[in-house]
């Protein structure tokens, strides 16, 4: 199939747009943090290649669109360090860095989680949200993996989804430290990786196997 060949031959991270022939790329910018230099780099690429535009996405990234196939490689090269692709995105609110309401450092935790997730190869896409308080501005309850900062520590949520079949994530643990939260997430993701069907998101996976099975895999059967 021609389509498949084209898709497989694409540089990692490029997406074919409607109608074919044009591509978009979403450079890695963990937690939505950008610098004037990033903006200038992206801007110079948009202008040099005369591209149609840039969009701010809901995943806290900038998407560069309308790249003709023959310019794709050059565009990615020019983007340089900005052109590194994000494996699993981590959304985070400003947290104790800036927000008056925050109970925990969601940006710090988000950065650690992003690092941590890069070590995984999962069955399908994974979206995560780290919120510094129970207002949940990173929408942690409807992410595959969600963290909510409370007075005594982190609440860890698993199996949420905000798509066409919305699912509220289940609570795996409460009042845990950063380190413990990552440990729990790691175990849950290992279990998910080993047992999920092809292209099965965590929400559908939890519906199928039950949250108790996930909890057992994470905490052992004694709990």
């Amino acid at each position: 199939m021609k389509n498949k060949e084209i898709i497989e031959g694409l540089p990692k991270g490029a997406i074919v747009q409607r109608g074919g022939g044009l591509y978009s790329v979403t450079p890695r910018m963990p937690l939505g943090q950008i610098t004037p230099e990033h903006l200038n780099t992206i801007n110079s690429v948009v202008q040099e290649f005369n591209l149609s535009g840039v969009r701010v996405t809901a995943g806290q990234r900038l998407k560069i669109q309308g790249i003709p196939e023959d310019k794709l490689k050059a565009v990615i090269e020019k983007l340089g360090p900005v052109g590194e692709f994000c494996k699993y995105y981590v959304q985070a609110c400003p947290g104790t860095n800036a927000c008056r309401l925050a109970m925990q450092d969601s940006m710090g935790m988000g950065a650690k989680l992003e690092e941590f997730l890069n070590g995984f190869t999962l069955p399908w896409k994974l979206k995560t949200g780290v919120s510094g308080c129970s207002m949940s501005c990173s929408e942690s309850y409807v992410r595959d993996v969600g963290l909510v900062g409370k007075n005594k520590g982190w609440t860890v949520l698993f199996g949420g989804n905000a798509g066409k079949r919305v699912r509220e994530g289940d609570i795996l643990a409460e009042d845990v430290s950063e380190q413990k939260a990552l440990e729990i997430i790691g175990k849950a993701l290992d279990f998910y990786s080993r047992n999920a069907k092809v292209r099965e998101r965590t929400a559908r996976f939890v519906e199928r196997v039950g949250i108790d099975a996930v909890k057992e895999a994470v905490f052992g059967s004694t709990q």
Partner: protein, 219 residues
């Protein structure tokens, strides 16, 4: 600090000294001019944090009070509401403009809604998500007002929320034309304004009165 001491379009930060601002970038579209302006002010005012938000906007964080007006002056952009009791933003996926899966023009409808309603005063903040197909990339089912493009028209859902107490939106109407969808959003916002208590989000109103009451009043 009294609320009227806070400069226009600025959000007081944790340190109770500095502010954040969020320029308006409807449905997340930005031009080279916007990027240039942001890069320029970022450097000129040595803005400590520039962060992309989940609402498809770019927040500039850590401004001194006296810088706020100067930064706005330099940016020449409108304020994107981020704290007031009003329509905050309209989120949209790329839709038929770009996406292979898109069934409807979500960017077009999103922009139209943004232009008409952003800043409109309401009992509480309100978020809108316009998705061009049922994949729901604009997370329409967890927005106060959600629109989903299907083959036969737009489905409109209301009363969703993605926060600490998530709520899946109820379907208000299906197979709407773009014009009908815009009109129904308008009528729903009016209904919400008249029937909800102060600071009560649309999810709370729907939980209280139920979707049938809304349908009866609007359809």
């Amino acid at each position: 600090m009294a609320e009227n001491d806070i400069p226009t379009g600025a959000i007081l930060q944790r340190d109770k000294k500095t502010y954040a601002i969020v320029p308006r970038t409807p449905v997340g579209l930005v031009t080279p001019d916007v990027l240039e302006a942001l890069a320029r002010v970022g450097r000129k005012f040595e803005i400590p944090v520039m962060k992309i938000t989940s609402g498809q906007r770019i927040a500039l964080v850590g401004l001194e009070k006296e810088q706020v007006d100067e930064v706005w002056e330099d940016l020449k952009m409108d304020v994107g509401p981020a704290v007031g009791l009003c329509v905050h933003y309209v989120q949209a996926c790329p839709g038929t403009a770009v996406c292979k899966l898109g069934l409807r023009d979500s960017l077009g409808l999103g922009l139209e809604l943004e232009n008409m309603f952003v800043g409109k005063e309401l009992p509480a903040k309100l978020k809108v998500g316009v998705s061009g197909c049922t994949m729901c990339c604009a997370e329409s089912y967890v927005r106060d007002v959600g629109l989903i493009g299907k083959r036969k028209g737009w489905t409109m859902v209301v009363g969703g929320n993605a926060s600490g107490r998530p709520r899946i939106a109820d379907v208000l109407a299906e197979e709407l034309s773009r014009q009908e969808a815009v009109e129904l959003v308008n009528r729903f916002l009016e209904f919400y304004r008249e029937n909800s208590g102060k600071r009560s989000r649309s999810a709370m109103m729907l939980k209280k009165i139920g979707i049938d009451a809304v349908k009866e009043a609007l359809l």
